[in-house]
């Protein structure tokens, strides 16, 4: 996966195939045809989500899920946000949203600070055994979470953090560490060692080199890390279920509980609005970040 990071940054290189000569050659029809068909496959669910969420239930029962709404209504969105029920709670997905935000912000900050310092120490301040810890860390990225779920429950309980927001923040920091450390270490190792030496001759110490020399030079990689962590933590389901209590459930968990609850009449339009709402944050990050997202997922590849 080390290769993948290096390799993926090259996606903006020039295409390699031969240039098609005529607009309507058989070859072109095949290529664009393939891409077009697959694009339909990728776009279809987004279209269905949006359309369904803008219809009323009677229209859904009557018609076709692909058809645009005859009468546009935003009521499902309002309902999903503020009235949808999970169990006895009927205050909508907004609670999950704010929970996710409250989990997200400290998790992103803490995990990135810890991992970037790790990467920095592993690149420029190697100590005896530091490479061994790094190897274990990378292997840790491949250990199924299920193996570590319960020991962490015990650890959090001992620390009095089980079921709390900070417990989950800690879990995200721990599980984000392998990939982010790798990301930062790979980036920092492209920085000439002489720069670090020059800073030491100039009398800068561990923290001051980190804060004054490396951080300002490495803003792009911090942005990549933020993208990676925001989408990753926002999309998390398992840790949210295991390490928090229902009133702290992140948005994904609450969404699943709303849509897959067995009680009551299924309101598909509300469900789709809720699903879209949950997907909005990562989608927003995705569309805004563009190529940086590609770099992020390359690094995040190890996460699986």
């Amino acid at each position: 996966m080390v290769d993948a990071t290096a390799v993926l940054t090259r996606t903006d290189a020039e295409p390699r195939g031969t240039k098609p000569k005529r607009a309507l050659s058989g070859r072109n029809i095949m290529i664009y045809g393939t891409l077009f068909v697959f694009s339909l496959y990728y776009l279809l669910p987004l279209w269905v989500m949006v359309m369904t969420s803008l219809k009323g239930m009677p229209e859904i029962r009557m018609g076709n899920i692909f058809a645009p709404p005859v009468e546009i209504t935003f009521e499902p969105w309002v309902k999903a946000w503020s009235q949808a029920c999970t169990g006895l709670n009927c205050d909508g997905l907004s609670r999950g949203f704010w929970n996710s935000v409250r989990i997200l912000i400290p998790s992103v900050i803490l995990s990135i600070v810890v991992a970037s310092v790790n990467g920095y120490a592993l690149t420029f301040w190697k100590f005896k055994g530091s490479d061994i810890f790094f190897t274990i860390l990378i292997f840790g990225a491949f250990i199924p979470y299920q193996v570590m779920l319960y020991p962490i429950v015990i650890l959090l309980r001992e620390m009095g953090l089980y079921g709390s927001l900070w417990g989950l923040v800690l879990v995200h920091t721990i599980f984000g560490m392998p990939i982010l450390t790798l990301l930062f270490r790979n980036y920092f190792s492209t920085i000439p060692e002489e720069l670090f030496k020059a800073a030491r001759v100039d009398g800068a110490g561990f923290w001051s080199i980190y804060a004054k020399i490396l951080m300002p030079m490495s803003l792009p990689i911090f942005v990549v890390a933020i993208i990676l962590q925001v989408t990753g933590i926002w999309n998390d389901f398992l840790f949210g279920v295991v390490y928090t209590k229902p009133d702290l459930y992140p948005m994904t968990v609450q969404l699943n509980n709303i849509v897959n609850s067995v009680q009551g009449v299924k309101e598909y339009n509300v469900n789709m609005a809720a699903t879209l709402l949950t997907g909005l944050v990562p989608l927003f990050i995705y569309f805004v970040s563009g190529k940086l997202f590609v770099r992020g997922i390359a690094a995040g590849a190890v996460k699986g």
């Binding site: 664009y32 891409l35 990728y42 274990i136 840790g140 994904t252």
Partner: protein, 297 residues
């Protein structure tokens, strides 16, 4: 002098050592410690709480005679093989198509990759809705006049895995395409020139020259995708909840249910140890190829 030196050695890089504490704790306590703890306690009869009453391989015997676990493993194997074959071949196909100096490359890439930004929960729920027999694809085809058309994978134990596969491929192929495309573009330009000078047709160049050169990219992709498949959980929870019946159970779900619902920790530990073993079976040959080979070569 020697004294001063030793003290100095300790204090030198002190800040670096302090800064490494979170990493050291994470690797030693959580990754190594946690893993060993789980493996150790998989040999106990822990129920609601972990306890040190060792019962040998009993939990594993129970595990492998539990039909739900057997279904989980079978599902994972079928889903895993299909998913690997399809994600990698579709990903490569799309990458080659994208590599033909096409127009709107960025647009196509944006379209193919956006599902990867979404969570498995969102993915599962959308496809649950599209595959809904009453309103989804089945009903639409029927309303077009083909009254007997049946496509109801989420409620058919025999087809449910394919329902999951459609959603899984939707989420992951764009990412694999990106890896492959990057691999294609990482190949030396001169290879293409040489092939053209030699008069080798494009498709033959891809098949006979480029494909073998992309071996490392394929292996990396394979490992990444495989590691992801073994962890498969959220998607199943959202799309099928493991149903109908136990038809779409997967090991991660089994672990969660036994650990946190059925209050049978020992079973959960044994099942998760089996998952770890599966990962090691994938990982060790790869690590050997990737790192062991370099050392000796």
């Amino acid at each position: 002098m020697a004294e001063a030196r030793r003290v100095n050695r300790m204090w030198r890089n002190m800040n670096a050592k302090i800064a490494a504490i979170p990493m050291v704790l994470t690797t030693l306590v959580v990754f190594v410690g946690g893993t060993f703890w789980t493996v150790l306690y998989s040999f106990t009869d822990s129920k609601l709480l972990p306890r040190e009453r060792f019962i040998g391989f009993d939990q594993y015997e129970r595990l492998w005679s539990n039909s739900r676990w057997l279904t989980s493993i079978e599902n994972l194997m079928i889903y895993g093989v299909l998913s690997l074959v399809f994600t990698i071949s579709i990903g490569f196909l799309l990458a080659v198509a994208m590599d033909q100096k096409i127009r709107y490359e960025d647009t196509f890439r944006t379209i193919m990759l956006y599902p990867f930004a979404l969570s498995f929960i969102v993915t599962g729920l959308v496809w649950q809705w599209i595959l809904n027999p009453e309103f989804g694809i089945q009903s639409i085809v029927r309303s077009l006049g083909w009254e007997t058309f049946t496509f109801n994978p989420l409620n058919d134990p025999k087809l449910v895995l394919y329902g999951l596969l459609i959603a899984g491929l939707w989420q992951g192929t764009g990412f694999v395409m990106c890896l492959m495309l990057a691999g294609l573009r990482g190949i030396d330009e001169d290879i293409w020139k040489a092939a053209r000078v030699d008069g080798i047709p494009t498709w033959k160049t891809y098949l006979l020259i480029i494909l073998p050169m992309m071996r490392p990219v394929f292996i990396t992709t394979l490992v990444i995708v495989a590691a992801g498949i073994i962890k498969l959980y959220d998607l199943v929870v959202a799309q099928t909840s493991g149903g109908p019946g136990t038809a779409s159970q997967v090991p991660a779900m089994y672990v969660y249910d036994y650990m946190f619902q059925a209050q049978n920790l020992g079973q959960g530990f044994a099942a998760s140890t089996m998952m770890l073993l599966t990962v090691l079976i994938v990982l060790i040959p790869w690590a050997y190829l990737e790192f062991g080979g370099k050392k000796h070569g």
